[in-house]
């Protein structure tokens, strides 16, 4: 019963989380945080909101952006059904190599792919330079 009674206004939640109200509203708008459990003047936020805010802060400290956090929170089953690709990124890795990557790839995935592409480009370039020197 005691836990049930624990509801706060936005200002109270902000004070507890040591975050400005605007930041919390921004997180809600970004889908990082559920909205208040009841609408109206005494809009209610609870410990789950506080916990989520702590989690966000933790992820931020590890270098994740809000978009990346939102994707994590949305869970893994979200990206199962990919639609037909409509647009592609075209990476000119070397003069004779180009790689196509889905433009709607997950930013996480994209970052990963780009890392591999960078390695590939560096490898090919080193190869090339080696040949030129010979």
């Amino acid at each position: 019963m005691a836990a049930e009674a624990q509801t706060w206004t936005l200002a109270e939640l902000a004070a507890r989380a040591e975050l400005p109200g605007r930041t919390i509203r921004y997180y809600i708008a970004r889908g990082l945080l559920p909205g208040p459990s009841k609408a109206g003047r005494g809009a209610a936020y609870g410990p789950e909101h506080l916990e989520r805010l702590r989690q966000i802060r933790d992820w931020q400290a590890r270098g994740l952006t809000l978009t990346e956090i939102a994707r994590r929170l949305a869970g893994p089953d979200r990206a199962v059904l990919q639609a037909e690709p409509v647009a592609w990124w075209h990476y000119a890795v070397a003069e004779d190599v180009t790689v196509l990557v889905r433009a709607d790839a997950d930013p996480w995935r994209l970052k990963q792919i780009k890392n591999y592409l960078a390695q590939m480009a560096a490898g090919l370039r080193a190869d090339n330079e080696g040949k030129e020197q010979q």
């Binding site: 200002a11 509203r25 609408a39 960078a118």
Partner: protein, 805 residues
């Protein structure tokens, strides 16, 4: 502005539908005076969504700027902001938002970033926020450069989190412990569908106005008096992907003053004394120079290429007695040599090869670069030349390091949205001077100009006395040294209503100098503007020392105590001048009929365009930039989006075609200019030629005769391009050539050739040249490489006659 549709209607270029923007337009109006600008920026917000909105617009303050107040205009109301300590302002704003009222907060964060938040805009409601601010200008001898940010550059910080959230959309977040709750905008590579920006400004120069031009926007210009004009955007609207830059030019370099009697009965004035009033630097003494080059990813493409060329050209102006050093930095720092080396031909050649290997990559650890350069320079009093886009966060920390280093820093800022405010401070606080260029101007010429002017000061131990002004005193201590091309600015106040004079005394190579300058007082409105500008300057200077977000009053370390004193000082300045600062914010809450506290507004941050010519991938792309073989990465772009994937296509061709389309889209003639410049213009030729000057001042050649002929031809070309030993970006090179030709004239093959050399030297030393000659003519002269013969000398003499007579 068309009031009927709220100023602008924005259509999405791809869908053709009206865009649902939370902010629809930004319109800049105001007055540019000889000493600064008083501006009014109108922001139009509209909620096109079904729920109430909280809209946050992030922007950067221009140099020496401060917010004065804002008013909110809505359907049936107009409310003015109040100035409050930041915490109180935030509470009032939060309370207003929670109660469903229309609330607005303008708060300044670190690095001069501002968040303008407007909460509870109802569905369909139109709200305008008119923000008043004052801003400083970049003073020149014969005018000024005004810059206003229409976009906010992304910035580098070790702990910043950046990611590309959708193709072409980047997001950047700064750590909250250091930067507070500041929100940065999403950065869009395609700014076409964003809010529209425009301007309509009046310009009053005091002296006779020669003209107003802009390297950034197409202007409509209308002369309204001998020293006044009105400038506006010549097209319907522009997109927020670059700063507005205006060059205001006077007919002559004469002292300008502006001021008036303020409401408190005291007069406030600012006097700008051009550097030519301090004579000319006579003695060329050996120099020690360290170049500090920003090679971070954001410099990729034209900015880095031009900066490298500029360094080479600057070296061409040095002799064997001069010492040089070179530091390049990105995430790490790299030294050319671990000590200063004499500027011999061999060392220059080594540095030239070293420069060729420099590519743009990584972050911007500017403080580390400066520290390394200071260490390299040692105690010898070397001048440091910093070439950077300054797109960094936590600039207050860099300033602290630089102040402590005790070296003089001269800065060249490069960028469509450069950190004008920061780089001005960096130069000023270390006793140096700064200049700014947009990437579509010639970075190398500007660097040469800065380098030529920032050698030995024209005047040192500058003292200003106010005997000719009742109750006169300086509001800010004027700088102790004056450099060529950079005027002395005196900000002061007095009890007089009539004006008077002030006396400037200084020491120079030619002996002590003295000058009396008239202080004219005009319109009381001008006095009030000058007072605000002085306040904004003071606030900017003090703010630049406040490193932490906002100091916690509970801490009792020495640093915390210092910062608390700073906060108190800033609060007092804010109250005295009625201007916002890091510790005082502007807030307004409007209670409207039918305000509904039950609906939580949805927060939206207004996106801005990536600054033109800044490589998106350097912030939001791959961790390390990919090398694209054979093609300049910055020009083609790392990745090109292929719209549809239906049939086999030749990928590389498509990439190239698309990149051409990108160029055309930016539809400015200036851009075309940049593309042509890559192929080489006469300025490129001259830049390359002067970089080849040997330490003795002449061009290289197979024989002494060839050297003499070629050097004489180059001198003629430089004269033709408008440079002499006294004026023009190539003046140092002209001085060197003159020195060489004087010494070698005795070896001239004939009396006529000797006479020609003497004429050229005389013209370079004292004469003025007609307006710059046609480019083909100069190009022909620089590329001319004949055998030294009587025929060749006759040809050169004919050319000289065409130019000099």
């Amino acid at each position: 502005m068309n009031e009927g549709n709220g100023g602008f209607t924005v259509f999405n270029v791809e869908t053709g539908r009206e865009a649902r923007l939370a902010m629809e337009g930004l319109w800049l109006t105001g007055r540019i005076l000889p000493v600064g600008a008083r501006l009014l920026v109108a922001h139009t917000f509209r909620s096109a969504e079904a729920q109430p909105l909280e809209v946050v617009y992030a922007f950067a303050l221009p140099r020496d700027a401060a917010l004065r107040r804002f008013s909110i205009l809505g359907e049936g109301f107009r409310v003015r902001s109040a100035l409050r300590p930041v915490e109180q302002a935030r509470k009032e704003y939060e309370q207003g938002v929670a109660e469903g009222h229309l609330s607005s907060l303008a708060r300044v964060y670190r690095d001069g970033r501002v968040n303008l938040s407007v909460g509870n805009i109802r569905p369909g409601e139109l709200v305008k926020v008119f923000l008043e601010l004052v801003a400083g200008v970049d003073w020149r001898d014969d005018g000024l450069r005004f810059r206003f940010p229409f976009t906010l550059a992304p910035c580098y910080h070790r702990e910043a989190r950046a990611v590309e959230v959708q193709p072409g959309v980047g997001e950047l977040e700064l750590p909250e412990e250091e930067f507070g709750d500041v929100l940065l905008p999403p950065y869009m590579t395609d700014a076409a569908a964003l809010h529209q920006v425009g301007f309509d400004l009046s310009v009053q120069l005091g002296n006779e106005l020669a003209g107003v031009s802009s390297p950034s926007h197409a202007l409509r210009f209308q002369l309204t008096g001998p020293g006044a004009a009105r400038v506006s955007l010549s097209r319907e609207g522009a997109v927020p992907d670059r700063d507005l830059v205006l060059d205001v030019q006077a007919r002559e370099a004469a002292p300008r003053s502006c001021g008036g009697v303020c409401r408190d009965g005291r007069a406030r004035f600012t006097v700008v004394v051009p550097s030519v009033s301090f004579g000319r630097s006579a003695r060329a003494t050996p120099r020690s120079v360290v170049f500090v080059l920003d090679r971070s990813g954001s410099m990729a493409g034209a900015p880095l290429q031009q900066a490298k060329k500029a360094v080479e050209a600057c070296l061409g102006a040095l002799s064997e007695k001069d010492q040089m050093g070179f530091v390049a930095f990105d995430t790490a720092v790299e030294l050319f040599q671990s000590q200063l080396v004499p500027c011999t031909a061999a060392n220059r050649e080594k540095l030239r090869r070293y420069l060729q290997g420099i590519e743009a990559q990584g972050g911007t650890e500017l403080a580390a670069g400066i520290q390394a350069a200071v260490q390299l320079a040692g105690l010898g009093g070397a001048d440091l030349f910093v070439l950077t886009d300054g797109q960094v966060a936590a600039t207050e920390d860099i300033l602290r390091v630089s102040r402590a280093a005790g070296a003089r820093l001269h800065c060249l800022g490069i960028g469509a949205a450069s950190q004008d405010r920061f780089l001005t401070l960096l130069a000023r606080e270390t006793g140096g001077v700064s200049r700014f260029v947009t990437p579509r101007e010639r970075v190398d010429t500007a660097a040469l100009e800065l380098f030529a002017g920032a050698g030995r000061p024209l005047a040192s131990e500058v003292k200003v006395s106010f005997d000719g002004l009742a109750g006169g005193k300086a509001v800010l201590t004027p700088p102790a040294a004056v450099f060529e091309g950079h005027p002395l600015v005196v900000m002061g106040e007095a009890d007089t209503k009539e004006g008077g004079t002030l006396d400037v005394e200084w020491a120079a190579d030619q002996g002590p100098g003295r000058l009396r300058v008239a202080v004219k007082l005009g319109d009381p409105r001008d006095g009030e503007t000058v007072r605000l500008l002085q306040g904004a300057r003071l606030i900017t200077d003090w703010e630049s020392r406040l490193t932490d977000e906002l100091p916690d009053g509970r801490r009792s370390t020495r640093k915390a105590r210092d910062e608390n004193r700073l906060v108190a000082r800033l609060e007092q300045l804010s109250r005295d001048y009625g201007l916002a600062s890091r510790v005082m914010a502007l807030v307004a809450v409007v209670e409207r009929f039918g305000d509904d506290a039950s609906r939580l507004p949805t927060t939206r941050v207004v996106p801005v365009g990536m600054p033109e010519d800044t490589c998106f991938e350097s912030y939001f792309g791959a961790v390390q930039p990919l090398a694209v073989h054979g093609v300049d990465r910055a020009q083609v772009g790392l990745a090109e989006k292929i719209q549809t994937f239906r049939a086999p296509v030749d990928m590389l061709d498509l990439t190239l075609r698309e990149s051409c389309a990108t160029y055309r889209r930016s539809d400015s003639a200036a851009w075309q200019g940049v593309l042509c410049e890559a192929a080489g213009t006469e300025d490129d030729r001259l830049m390359e030629a002067v970089a080849r000057l040997l330490p003795d001042g002449g061009l290289p050649g197979a024989s002494e005769q060839e050297r003499l002929l070629r050097s004489a031809a180059l001198l003629l070309a430089l004269l033709g391009a408008g440079s002499t030993a006294r004026v023009g970006p190539f003046r140092l090179h002209v001085q060197k050539l003159v020195g060489f030709l004087k010494g070698a004239a005795a070896d001239a093959p004939s009396d006529t050739s000797r006479q020609l050399i003497e004429d050229l030297v005389a013209r370079a030393e004292c004469g003025t040249v007609r307006s710059p000659q046609p480019r083909e003519w100069i190009e022909a002269l620089v590329c001319w490489a004949p055998e030294p013969s009587a025929v060749a000398w006759t040809r050169l003499e004919q050319w000289a006659r065409e130019l000099l007579d």
